[in-house]
């Protein structure tokens, strides 16, 4: 026997979510089915609202429900430092440190010719336009230490350095509080490569 059509439809939609397989989708659908109607409505509305209201900041491409995001609007942030990230999730990770006081630029991905992603698919042109203003003195590139992340960082540095702006990259190496003993070889090799003078 198959599920009744509306239920089957919900399961199929949930299965499209990242990390959700048929079993989890089924569990979620049953959960939704048992929810009070009010709660289900709130969920449905939240989904619609996110689609209607969330856009990207026209400066940094962070998610926002206004034209310019609160980070870009905050006058106490240091506009001479720009941190380039691939994704809004990376921006949030750096924000959580509460240490970084500069601004951001969200590229919306990394360069990957295999996936058809080149500079035109990313917010590279917009980044260069922002840098033209002359306010920015340093660009910190914060990409994941993958082959694509490194290639994107290299590419950006080649574009930005000729503008006379300092380009830096997040260090790759030992996790803080980590044990040398437990570090995997790639991390250790990278930490050796990135060692610095004491």
């Amino acid at each position: 026997m198959e599920y009744a059509r509306p239920l089957a439809k919900l399961i199929r939609e949930l299965e499209k979510m990242p990390g959700v397989g048929p079993k989890s989708a089924q569990r979620m659908a049953f959960h939704i089915l048992r929810m009070p109607e009010e709660e289900a409505r709130t969920l449905a509305e939240a989904i619609l609202e996110v689609k209607e209201r969330i856009t990207t900041c026209k400066q940094c491409f962070n998610f926002t429900d206004e034209e310019v995001c609160p980070i870009c609007r905050n006058p106490s942030r240091d506009a001479s430092v720009l941190c380039v990230v691939a994704d809004v999730r990376d921006l949030m990770a750096i924000e959580r440190t509460q240490e970084y006081r500069g601004l951001y630029h969200v590229l919306q991905g990394v360069i990957s010719p295999m996936d058809g992603v080149g500079a035109e698919q990313l917010r590279v042109r917009e980044l260069l336009q922002r840098l033209q203003s002359g306010h920015v003195k340093e660009v910190i590139i914060a990409m994941n230490p993958t082959i694509e992340g490194d290639a994107t960082a290299l590419y950006l540095s080649r574009l930005i350095k000729p503008l006379g702006i300092r380009v830096t990259q997040l260090a790759h190496g030992m996790p803080v509080g980590g044990d040398l003993d437990y570090a995997d070889q790639a991390t250790l090799i990278s930490a050796l490569e990135w060692r610095r003078e004491l």
């Binding site: 360069i111 990957s112 010719p113 080149g118 082959i147 290639a151 590419y155 080649r158 090799i189």
Partner: protein
Amino acid sequence: MYLTHLQLKNFRNYECLHLEPDAGLNLITGENAQGKTNLLEAIYLLATGRPLRAGREEELIRWGAEDATVYAHIHRERSLEVQVQIDLSRTQPRVVRVDGQTYRAALALGQFNVVVFSAMDMEIVRGQPADRRRYLDLEISMLSPTYVRALAGYRRALEQRNRLLKSIRESGGAITPSTIELLEAWDEQLVRYGSGVMVARERFISALRPLARQAHSELSEGREELDIRYAPSIEWVSPEREQVAECFRQHIQRVREEELRRGSTLIGPQRDDLLLFVDGKEARTYASQGQQRTAMLSLKRAEFELTLQERQEPPIVLLDDVMSDLDDLRRTQLLRMTLRGAQAFITATSAETFPQEILAASRMYRVQDGQIQLVSRP
């Protein structure tokens, strides 16, 4: 190093097997297609993470079964005993366990070393450059886990760069300054990983070379001379990482236009070859079958010696049905290697081809239809 236990569950044609092999010679006889090679393959898989024969991983699982397990307990002189297990499944990615800890597959390499010799190895001498690169990659991976990463990184960078070159070509060759910057970013990735791969290959071949020459001289009783040479697609003066990287970088510049025109990467480790010469002539084309076989045997002997040097203990020797193809001298030479304290697993259709002294020193098994039976002990 030697296996003290080998256990198979649903692996190839073995439903269930528990073997406690001899620390020295193990002779496995049986008719064709009974499961002799499968036994060697299980050991090979645990050492290298790869199957011995080409094919899909699923083919390692017994017909009708959903998953398979290969497990071995290894005694090592120079480090602690270790247990390696690989779980294969038709639906899940494989799981590698070392002493019960789960690892990503690449890191399981190198827990113990094997030197394998089967009829297919003749492809190293006779076959294409790709066969020899595969050989190099496997051998170096067993001795250096970091090589596995450099190689994986290189393959990825190469694939990305090829895709980029192809898309530039398909766009009608409109090359903007930004395209060049993009390509240069991928050049740098290619150089970073590629120079690591080439330096490792260069080092491995230079270490193998004197050992292979020595072995060949012994095997041919001084009548023939073997030489092996690394043939990379770029030239460098000294094999230092930075030097090699710089030469690679410069060479990429020189072939830039050609690469843009063809839409693919033209130089790098994917074009490497390992050249074998017998008496100054390239073995692939000019050596007789007998000479090729001796060259192959010398290479295997050299591998054995190199592992012994690096690991300070002999690797496990796997000889898959090669004894019958060899003459008495070469057979004795090959077995001499196994007699130097190494554990060996030797398969043959019958025990008749073996010298009496070997038979007397071996633990003998008979394989029939996925069942193994102990015939005699030394």
